[in-house]
Each structure stands twice: as C-alpha cells, then as structure tokens.
C-alpha cells in the first residue's frame, strides 16, 4: 500500500475490480467514517481548499474554490446535486475508465464526501455509454454501499442522507461539457448553457450543482483522510497531488499511470511509455487529449503541470498525451481530429456548427490533393474565428482549434507540401 500513489493503490495487475470487502480491507471508507458526523462540511471544504486540488477534467479549476460558490444556507430545503462527469470522450483519454473499472468504491467514497461537503442530497454519475463494465461495477458498488449504510438515509446514523444514481449517457462528446451534461441529464438537448448563472448556483433542475471529473472526485477522500499538506507534498511542482498520465500513439508501451503531478514529459514518455516504437521518430504530441495544442520535441523536458504546459502554449487538459510520429501525416492527423469535433458539435452556435465542418472540408481538400494556397488563409481565418474564447457558446470549438492552430504553426511545411505536391506525401502516390 503506497501513500504516494493513492489513486491506483487498489489497481491490481490483472485490472480485476476491487469489491467492497477488499476495498475496506485496504483501508477504504475510513475517510467516510472519519468525516461524516465528525467534520463539518465547512471543515471539509477548508481542507479541500488548502489541498490545492485542481479539477482533472481538463480545465484545472481549483476544486475547493468551485465548491465554495455553492450556497450553504438552503432555506427552501430544495435539492442540491453532485454530478460525477464520467463521460470521458476526449480523444486519447482513458484514465477515468481505469479508475472506475479497477476501483469503483474509491469514486463512490470520494463522491459521498464531496456531496457531504456541499450538502448535496442527490448524486449522479453521468457515464459514457461505452463504459459498460464500469457502469455495472458502479451500480453494484452503490447497491453494496446502500446495504452497508454508506448511502441512503442517515448515513452512518447521522442526519446526513444521500442518494446516488448512475446515468448512462446517450453518447455525445458534448455531453462531457458540464452544462450540456446537465441539459442531457434533464432529458433535454445536450446544449451547453450560458454562464452566469453558474451551475453552483443554478444547475441541474435549476438547483445548486457541482460537476467534477472522476479523477478529481477520487482524490477527495484521500485528501480529507490524510490532509492538505500530505496532498500538497505529492506534487513535484506548484501543483498538488498525483495525476493519471496516459500516452497513446506509436510508443512501445502505451498506457496510463499515476505519477506525481509535475512529472516531466520525457520521463512519462520514456520511462513509462517505453519510448517510441522502433523505426518511429517523435514529431510532436498533444499533451492532454485531442483538444490541446501540439507541443514538440523541444518541450520534452517540461513538467506536466497546469501552469508549465499552459506557459508553453498548450494545456495539460486531461494529462493524456497523443503522440504524432514521423510516419503519420500531420495534416491527416489534424483532419481526423477536426472531423471528430465537427461531428460532435452540438449545433447550437454558428462558428462551431458551421465553421468546424468547413475546416474539416478544407483539410480534406488539402489531404486529398485538392488544396489551394488560399486554403491556408481560410484555415488561419477560421482558427481565429472559431478558436478565440468567447466567440463560441462553449469551449468545444476553441478546443477543436487547438490542434489545428498549433499544427499549422509547427507543421506548416507539411501543409505546404500537400498543396504544392497536390497530395499527401505520406500516402501512396500522394493520394489516399
């Protein structure tokens, strides 16, 4: 049992799930026993704030601060909600799946303590439809907790009660955006909502609501149990805790590992992912999922934390890297992503709904050898038009522009070769 790898301590080599008995045998629900009825919600909130936990869903927003916006006086006695965002549809991201499939009770304990802190009485796990195994495990775990009195009425004999439900998403990337998620959960079109008002004040069914990522919530009971200082001490840089890092692409050992936050990119890539496959060279990587900007070989020694990666012109996002190698066409790579985002646009606002398919169309033209020189201008214009925060109704579109904008910056000559050679240099004869 390792204290410096709290999130994965119950992850077995064969990835078989940890059930309630095993979880408890390994110290599970100790945080719950220690907190509910013993610490006040505001005690818990203070610990969270001190811990400097930042949201692991992509934006890195300080969790304690987010929770502090939830109104704690509740004269009407109406519901408050905690929602676990388990939609995980970001391209290249598979960290939440590992956590849910291997250790479902860790998430549930984290959620109970989180809900307790904001005094939510109903919690939902909004889970990606393809995560069938995780869905089943979570449902079983919730039932087991009910039997144990960890969920339901009067948890551990206190006057705190919490119901927890698993809701399976109908399957759209946009459902992971927290306000679109709320719309979807209400049975409406999965369109994001304008902020303000923020969900903390008016969220699910108009009530105060917190949405957090799976990994964020998994940290919570560890922090409450072991304290803010312990959590701070886990990080290598200014950020606190550990992080589930992942690598996909042409590496020897693609996968997902819990490492101290701030671990350098090179270490993740070489020590854990085993370096590039033989015969492949690294050209660039998206550090935190499909909607983050490319970084290149010059960035390998950066620490993977929110601020460092942000300063380098990208985002840590979900912390799961996608590798671009020298045998893969960067234009095709980007086109693939932009097509995904165009397909997943919710259709609410104009720049994203109509602008992304246009980008995809232009990229396809370039890739297929029909590109014109002016297409580079069109793309540059679109990147500005769609990509600037605030131009669109939500962050999907700016995210979609990150790989394109940075791709055009770092791999401009590759785009140019497509246009000049009227085709893709990586494909046979230049044409797919």
């Amino acid at each position: 049992m390792s204290l410096d790898r709290p999130l994965t301590r119950n992850v077995r080599p064969d990835r078989s799930p940890t059930d309630l008995a095993a979880y408890e045998a390994n110290g599970g629900y100790r945080g719950l026993h220690g907190a509910i009825g013993k610490l006040t919600p505001s005690d818990c909130l203070q610990i969270l704030k001190n811990s400097n936990l930042r949201g692991r869903g992509g934006a890195g927003f300080p969790t304690g601060m987010k929770w502090s916006f939830v109104p704690m006086d509740n004269p009407s006695g109406g519901h408050k909600y905690l929602i676990c965002n388990a939609d995980e549809m970001e391209p290249g991201t598979f960290k939440d799946r590992l956590l849910m499939e291997c250790d479902p009770h860790q998430l549930i304990e984290g959620m109970i303590l989180s809900a307790y802190t904001i005094q939510a009485d109903v919690a939902y796990i909004f889970i990606r439809a393809e995560y069938i195994k995780a869905t089943q495990l979570l449902r079983e775990a919730i039932a087991a907790c009910h039997d144990k009195g960890y969920l339901g009425k009067n948890i551990l004999g206190t006057d705190y009660s919490l119901e927890m439900h698993v809701h399976v998403s109908a399957g759209r990337y946009i459902c992971g955006e927290e306000t679109a998620l709320i719309s979807a959960l209400e049975g409406k079109r999965a369109n994001p909502r304008a902020k303000p008002p923020f969900p903390q004040v008016s969220g699910l069914w108009g009530r105060p609501t917190i949405v957090n990522n799976v990994e964020t919530l998994c940290n919570v009971h560890h922090i409450i149990e072991r304290g803010a200082d312990w959590f701070q001490s886990l990080g290598l840089t200014a950020d606190a805790g550990t992080k589930m890092y992942g690598v996909s692409g042409r590496v020897k050992n693609p996968g997902c590992w819990e490492l101290p936050i701030g671990t350098p990119v090179r270490e993740i890539l070489e020590d854990y992912a085993g370096g590039m496959e033989d015969g492949y060279q690294l050209r660039g990587f998206l550090p935190g999922g499909g909607s983050t900007d490319f970084l290149t070989t010059e960035h390998l020694d950066l620490a993977m934390d929110y601020d460092t990666i942000g300063k380098a012109g990208s985002r840590m996002g979900t912390g799961t890297m996608i590798i671009l190698d020298d045998k893969t066409c960067p234009v095709g790579f980007v086109k693939n992503l932009v097509e995904f985002f165009a397909r997943e646009s919710c259709g609410f606002c104009t720049p994203c709904r109509d602008g992304l398919p246009w980008c995809a169309q232009v990229l396809d033209d370039i890739e297929q050898g029909r590109g014109l020189q002016e297409d580079m201008d069109t793309l540059a214009r679109q990147v500005e038009f769609i990509g600037a925060m605030g131009n669109t109704h939500c962050a999907l579109a700016p995210g979609a522009m990150e790989p394109l904008a940075s791709g055009m910056k770092y791999f401009r000559e590759d785009f140019q070769r497509h246009i000049d050679g009227a085709g893709c240099p990586w494909c046979d004869g230049g044409i797919h």
């Binding site: 304008a194 004040v201 259709g347 104009t350 709904r353 109509d354 033209d365 669109t392 109704h393």
Partner: protein
C-alpha cells in the same frame, strides 16, 4: 441610468437591458438573429457580436455577444471596428454555407431578415467550396410551408413554438450542422399559434402556404392598419392585398393588445374576403326565388320604398362596425333595433358589460394580463374563444420564474438561464371548465365541473376571500376552494377570467364576485371577460342592456308592428335553430340584407346588398377590453360592393332623413355616434380623422417599391389609371406620402432603410420591444376599476347528473366555432364535422364507444317534459360520439359552429341514445396538398 461608450460616443441607456437592445433603441444597426424582443436572448447565432474593452487602455478588447451582455455603467464597446465587423461577416458567411441562395423563388424574398443582415454585415465573397447539406421538407398542414434548406439554425422557431407558445410537436432534431427544425413526422402543426412562425423565423423556412401558392412580394402588397375580426380580442393586423385579394395577414404591433403575435384564426382566417361566393351586385329576389342583379340606384330606391313607411325593424351585427350599426339603429329607431345576438347570448354579453362597468377590478390589457401572478379561469376555454389571451396567460405563469430570477439577479432577457432556473415552476393558474382546455399543461390544476358548479365554486372562492366562507360545498370542491383562495389572496396582481363561452350567466357573475372580493381586500385585482365577436361589446355599449332580442322582434312583427326587416352583416341562422330563424324572417313581408357573404340569411333576403368586408371599409370595433379601434380599407371594394355604412347612409339620404343631413364622411358618423351614445363618447379618440396629414402629406398604403401599376392592367390598357383618392382616411392608395412618425393607429406597413423584414418594427418603437413611437392604437372606453361592485349573487343549486338526462355544454373550437374562419380554404381543412363529447362513465351508460353515433333529443326528466311534444320527432342532432374523460359527468359537450350542431343550445337539457345504423367515419381527416409531396413547390 448607466452611461456606455459605443465607438467613442457616450450614450445614456436604460438599466436592465442588454447591449443589443440598447443599441437598437439608440437607432444603431447591430445585426442579430436569435434574439427576439418578446423572447429574449440565448446567444446562439453569435451575429450580434461587438468588441468590449476592459478599460480605456485596453486596445485589443474581446468579442462579446451584444444580446448576452448587460449594459453596465462605463462599459466600452466597439460596433464598427474591424474586429467586430469581421466577426459578424464571418458569421453570415458561415450561416450561408449550406444555404441554397434561392432568393428569387423564396417567399421570404424582399422581406427576409437574412437578406437584410447579409447586406448589413457587408458579406459578399463566398469561400466555401464544399457540398451543401440538404434536408427533406415536411408537410406541416394546410397553412404553413416548410423549406428546411433555408434554415440558419437560429432556434427562434422552437423557442417560440415550444417555450413561448407551449407547442410540443415542433422541435430541434439531430445535431451539429444537421439540426432539423420540424416534426417527428409529417403532419399538421398542432399549436393554435403556429402561424407566428412565419414572422418569427428570420428566413424562408416557414412561409404562408396560401401566399406561396398565390405569390406577391412584400413590396408589391398594398396594406393598411386593420383589426382582426376573428374574435373580440381586437388584435391589430396588416392584411396585404394585390389584385383584389388579401394575400396574407401579418401582425401589426400593438403593445397593449397583441404585441408581436396573432393566433391562427386571425392570421389565416381572412380568406372570406376574396371568397368567390361573395356578393358583387345587389340582388332582388324574383318570383322564381332567384336573384336579379340590379344597380345600386335601383337598390337604394328599393330600400327607400321599403323603409319609408316606417314599419321597419333592424338587426345589427356584433361583427359589423359601430358606425354601420349606429346608422341602422338610427334608420329603424332605437326601440326597433336588435344588436344581433342570439337570444341566449344577449343576456350574457350584456352581463359582461355590466360586470365590467360595475366592477372595482381593472379590465386588463395584454401586458397587464402577462403581469398577473395568480390566475383563475372560470368556464372559459380562452385558447378557443380569445386565443391571444391564452398566449398571454402562458407568459403570466412565468412570473414565478422571473421572481426566482430576480433573486439571482438575472435580467428578464436571459431567457435560457431563467427557464433552466425555474424549470416547471409556475405562478398559480387554476381552471374550472366543463372539460379539458389547451391551457391545462400550464395550469396548477384544472377541475371539470358543470357550469352551475363552476359558478358555485366561484361563489365559494369569493366568499372565502371576503372572509365569510360558506360551507355548503362538497368536500373535494372545498379543498379546491381553499387552494385557489390561498393563491389568489396571496397574489399582488390576481386575475380572474371568464366569458360567454360556456353559455352561463351564473359563471360570469361568479367571476365578477371573485374579482370584486379581491378588490375588497385592497388588492388591485383584474377581471377579464371574453365575448365572442369583434364588436360584441360595442353592440352592448350601443344598445345598452335592454335592447330587443330576436324573439321580441319576431313577436312584434307577427303582431303587425313591422313589415320590413333590415339585417346588417349577420347570418341569423347561426343565432337560432333553422326553424326559429325561418319563423323570424317569415314574420316580415320583406327582408333586406346587407352582407358580403353568401349565407343562408342572404339567401332568404328579398333584397341583398353586397357589403364590403372589413378589408374594404373603415370601421370602429370595440374589443373585449372596451378598446375602440379603427380599421381602414386595405383596398377599394370591387363591383357594387360598398361598406355597409355607405349603403345605409345613402339610403337615409335617399329618404331625406334629417338625422343624416350633416353626415358626409365616415368620421361624421363616428362623431354623431359618440355624441348620441354616451357610452361610446370615446370612440372618436380611437384614431385621427380623415383630415389628419403626416407632416403635410398622406400615409401611403403602398411601399416605395410598389411595382407594375401599369403592367397590372396591361391586358386592358397600358395607361395607368389615376389612383383612387381616399376621402375617408389620411391614408393614400399610393406609394406617395410619409410612413414615419405617424400616430400608432396609422401604421400601414413596417419598413426602414436596410430593414425590409418585419424586424424593422423596432424603428417605429421608441424603445425596442416597447410601444410605438406614435402611441398605442385605440382608445379605452371602459373606465377601469371605478365601479361600485357587482352586488350580491345567489349561486345556483348544485348540478346533479340524472340518469337519462344530460346538459348540453358548449365546447369552443378556434377553427369553426366563429362564423368567418371556416370560410378560408386552409382553415376549412382543419374544421371537423360536429361531434358530442361525453365522459367514459356516461359512454358506458349509453353503451357507446368512440366513433359511434349519438342521437340528441330534447330532454325529458322523470316524467316531466320540457318543451317536449309527444308524437313528433324531438331529435335535435345525430352526431359522432367522442369519449373525453375530462368531461364533467352528466354534461354533453357540443362543438359550437361545427356542422350538425345548429339545433343545439347551450345548457339545454337533452336525452342521448346510441344511433342505430350509424356509419363510422374513417380516421383520416384531412388530405390537403400532401400529394404534392415535399419539395413540390419551391417558393
């Protein structure tokens, strides 16, 4: 008031508005699509983008949406900078990627907001080389055309249809750049307010089917300020004419009557104006019972001869103008003039007038209805009798949401946020009716009761509010009374509504009691009572409350008092059973009928005179809130058609009647009426008289671009005839003149440079969304809230369902219950044949199932007979049975005005039995042009 800076200029703006509203109100052109003045903002289209700067030092600024940005003191914006303009251009270019650019064949062309905005942002060059997405269009019914390829995905249609109007069968479907606005499958749009989609949609997706098939561009339409004659609401309209046909009816904004919206009866119900069966020439019945066309001199001479002996009775019309009715009343004499209601309806309308005059409660306009924070409806199915009120009530229930929003400091325009916050929490709305109503979905509760029980419920609520609860109510009803009392008494602006629709004076009186009781508690309560026709209330005001009814005239004619009857614009066969009206008309030696329509009454006339419709004549109509409003001729009547007032005035001149010696113009009649009838003294204020000139010139009925005056009649002559001169109004049948800054009652169309669509309205408003610059049209005649109270009221005895006996209760239908709507071909398709609604228990009792036939006979109770003659056929009707489990037990609902119900009278006791040998109808109701198939038409 905050001061903001726009492009370096400082402006003082109204707090609580968003930047888009503020800019438009300042007269600045900021393009937009998804925002709507009545529906607020959602920030979808991103068209209204501006650049906001943090402070004077900030040189970059960032793009924000005007419609989503509150105006705050000191805020700095740029509308015209390159960054903002470039962004707005890019938005239009994106919106147009998949657009078919089919302006030449699009019915929206020339009044298209998308065209206007495209020009406004300066987008020209298209860079997109890809394929366009295309959609399959749907059949949406006989009224509305669907051409999805023109959609720019602004979400206005669904926000209007679902969120604002409460419809459920139109939705945004699919996602990304494939979002589709339509129904789950082809079919008639179900909302009674679907037609507003035509004006809400900024493109040519939803267009007017009858216009599409008979097309004229907006700039070629001649139009004039008019008033809807569909019901008593008095919605302001803009009918557009070309070649002698009303091509379409658009909304004419009136902040206090109809705002931005009409109902479908009003919008699509003017087709009777160019019904081919309309009379064109005076017709004199010959010995064969056919009509000989005569010219108007002969007609006037005939009238003179018929009326001169003085034994004349007149029947006026609740759908004719105050002026025409006044003249007829003058012609025949006050005591010989019946207002033209049915005998059952007359006491109801008179009671409505008295209740409003006597009430301490305010008679609300549409904005005050929308402000109500608790509502009680007694007996009236408003969606089907005064539809526009029902739409307003759908907004009033949102006051709860606005209260919640205020706590979070959300502004009222933050539409998405407020709806998400409040979800389905609404202000209280209670309905007591004989059965379900289309407002039930937003009601806190709807109780089904027989009319007498509705009255008892109302009475008990009134007593409860007054603090003198009466205890004779059954337990379940008493619980309702408590809940409703709590809701109304706890409200700041409670509203009580009722009307003549359920045929019961007791229900009306009870509504008066509730409103008065609330006033007694010092609350500014509102009382709104619906009457059926465009000038019903005007007739009550004109005749007072003791005018003769139809039966009385008949008796007096039979006793030899009269030999001539003049009927004004009234199909009497809608006002009584065929036998009754045959008897009435038969009591006179000659019957002169002034009407445009070819109906059973005109067919019974000795002399029929072709009267011009509302669209071809001046007239004042008094709406249900007592608002006198003026409608102007849109075009000149054809052939020998003349406005009724012209016929009557000419006739009386022919007779050299003293009363009309000094009357020459329409306005003179209005003035004479105002001078003669104290209750109508205010009607002269409804609109300026014909001397009015706008900055010295007339107001044009035709747009600047009105084209082809020569070509229009080139088959006859290429010389353009002189345009007719309108002697009766300040409007001109011409494009010369000034359509700007005029009084609100004189707005013939909306247009402003760069704004060709109906969105140009804001250029005529002082504040966007607010009243017209020239003032709100119409003059209120009822002094609101000064009455002494309605006096005491004794509630009727409880209604008891008795075996073998049912009470007939009227059920109103938006299409078909009125006289005129079913004469429009599109609406006619939606009018069903008559049927009888009973609850499941009653159906079981009768041994009928849905679709069986039911024979309705005069009622028999326990041996006693009521108007039942033995040995003769007492059958009143044989109709299809519909099982509606929301019907009050013991009540049989019949749909007013539909085929087969002529002999059924509200509240009559009847017997029912299963019809033998009844042929069940096939379920298919309308076929329309479905065969034409989707995309069968381009326009």
């Amino acid at each position: 008031m905050p001061v903001i800076q726009v492009d370096g200029q400082e402006y003082e703006v109204e707090a609580g508005k968003n930047l888009l509203e503020a800019c438009l109100s300042l007269g600045l052109d900021l393009p937009y699509f998804c925002w709507h003045p009545a529906m607020g903002s959602i920030g979808a289209c991103r068209q209204c983008a501006v650049v906001q700067y943090l402070n004077a030092e900030d040189e970059r600024g960032r793009i924000v949406m005007g419609c989503m940005t509150p105006v705050t003191d000191g805020a700095i914006f740029s509308l015209s900078g390159d960054k903002a303009r470039g962004f707005r251009q890019a938005i239009v270019e994106s919106l147009m990627l998949n657009h078919p650019h089919d302006c030449p064949v699009c019915a929206e062309g020339g009044e298209c907001h998308l065209q206007d905005m495209t020009v406004m942002v300066g987008h020209r060059d298209r860079h997109y080389r890809g394929r366009k997405n295309t959609h399959r269009n749907q059949y949406l019914g006989p009224l509305i055309n669907h051409e999805m390829n023109r959609c720019i995905t602004c979400y206005r249609c669904t926000r209007y249809y679902r969120d604002y109007a409460g419809g459920t069968d139109l939705a945004a479907l699919a996602s990304r750049d494939h979002v589709y606005f339509g129904r789950h499958s082809d079919g008639v749009l179900q909302s009674e307010f679907a037609g507003n989609l035509l004006e809400v949609c900024p493109t040519g997706v939803f267009t007017d089917k009858s216009l599409v098939h008979n097309y004229t561009r907006k700039w070629d339409l001649q139009s004039a300020p008019s008033v809807c004659v569909g019901c008593a609401m008095g919605c302001n309209t803009l009918p557009g004419e070309r070649y002698g046909k009303i091509k379409r009816v658009h909304n004419r904004f009136n902040a206090e009557v109809n705002g931005y919206f009409l109902c479908d009866r009003g919008r699509f119900g003017a087709g009777f104006v160019h019904d081919e069966r309309r009379l064109q020439y005076p017709g004199l019945r010959n010995n064969d019972g056919r009509y000989d066309a005569i010219n108007h001199h002969e007609a006037l001479q005939y009238m003179d001869r018929a009326c001169a002996p003085g034994k004349v009775a007149g029947i006026g019309s609740p759908r004719a103008s105050v002026e025409a009715n006044f003249l007829l009343r003058t012609l025949v004499g006050e005591e010989n003039f019946a207002p033209g209601f049915s005998d059952a309806e007359q006491p109801l309308v008179e009671l409505v007038l008295r209740l409003q005059q006597d009430s301490r409660a305010l008679v609300p306009d549409i904005t005050t209805i929308e402000s109500a924070d608790a509502v009680l409806i007694l007996g009236e199915d408003l969606t089907n009798t005064a539809p526009r009120i029902a739409l307003a009530l759908r907004q009033s229930v949102r006051n709860k949401a606005y209260e919640m929003a205020a706590e979070l400091r959300l502004e009222t325009w933050q539409d998405g946020a407020i709806r998400n916050l409040a979800q389905d929490q609404r202000s209280p709305l209670y309905i007591a009716a004989v059965a379900d109503t289309p407002l039930d979905d937003v009601a806190t509760n709807r109780i089904s009761l027989a009319p007498d029980d509705i009255a008892r419920l109302g009475n008990a609520i009134a007593a409860n509010i007054a603090g003198q609860p009466n205890a004779d109510l059954e337990q379940p009803l008493q619980e309702q009374v408590e809940m409703i009392t709590t809701a109304l008494a706890g409200a700041q602006r409670p509203l009580v509504l009722s009307g003549t629709g359920c045929g019961s004076t007791a229900v009306l009186a009870a509504a008066g009691q509730v409103a008065d009781a609330l006033c007694g508690n010092g609350v500014p309560a509102m009382l709104c009572l619906a009457v059926p026709e465009a000038n019903s209330l005007g007739q009550a005001l004109l005749t007072g409350c003791d005018a003769p009814g139809l039966a009385q005239l008949q008796q007096r004619a039979a006793s030899g008092e009269f030999d001539t009857l003049v009927v004004l614009e009234n199909d009497l066969y809608r006002r009584g059973s065929s036998a009754q009206i045959d008897q009435l008309l038969g009591a006179f030696q000659q019957v002169l009928v002034l009407d445009g329509l070819d109906n059973q009454t005109t067919s019974s006339a000795t002399l029929a005179l072709p009267a011009a419709s509302f669209a071809e004549s001046n007239g004042t109509l008094i709406s249900l809130e007592g608002r006198a409003q003026h409608h102007y001729p849109v075009f000149q009547p054809h052939a020998e058609r003349r406005p009724s007032w012209t016929w009557l005035l000419a006739c009386m001149k022919e007779m050299q009647r003293e009363e009309v010696r000094s009357l020459h113009h329409f306005d003179d009649i209005t003035r004479a009426c105002a001078a003669t009838i104290p209750a109508l003294a205010g009607i002269t204020a409804a609109a300026p008289d014909h001397h009015f000139r706008n900055a010295g010139v007339r107001i044009p009925r035709q747009t600047h671009r009105y084209s082809g005056r020569t070509a229009m009649r080139a088959d006859i002559s290429v010389h353009e005839p002189r345009q007719p001169v309108d002697e009766e109004s300040p409007l001109a049948f011409s494009m010369e003149g000034l359509n700007r800054d005029q009084p609100g009652a004189l707005l013939p169309y909306v247009w402003a440079p760069g704004w060709n669509s109906n969105q140009s309205l804001h250029k005529f408003q002082a504040e966007v969304g607010g009243p017209l610059k020239g003032g709100t049209a119409g003059a209120r005649l009822l002094q609101s809230g000064i009455g002494a109270g309605p006096g005491t009221f004794t509630a009727p005895a409880p209604f008891k369902a008795e075996p073998g006996r049912w009470q007939l209760v009227p059920r109103q239908r938006i299409f078909g219950s009125d006289e005129l709507s079913a004469l429009s071909p599109g609406l006619a398709e939606l009018v069903q044949p008559g049927f009888i609604e009973i609850c499941a228990a009653d159906a079981q009792l009768l041994g009928v199932t849905e679709g069986d036939g039911l024979v309705v006979t005069k009622g028999i109770t326990k041996g006693a007979t009521e108007g039942v003659t033995t040995g003769v056929d007492n059958t009143l009707a044989t109709l299809e049975a519909r099982i509606n489990d929301s019907m009050a037990v013991g009540c049989a609902g019949f749909s007013v005005g539909l085929a087969g119900v002529q002999n059924l009278r509200p509240l009559a006791p009847v017997s029912l039995r299963r019809a033998e040998g009844w042929q069940r109808r096939s379920p298919e109701l309308i076929g329309s042009d479905r065969d034409a198939g989707p995309g069968g038409t381009h326009v």
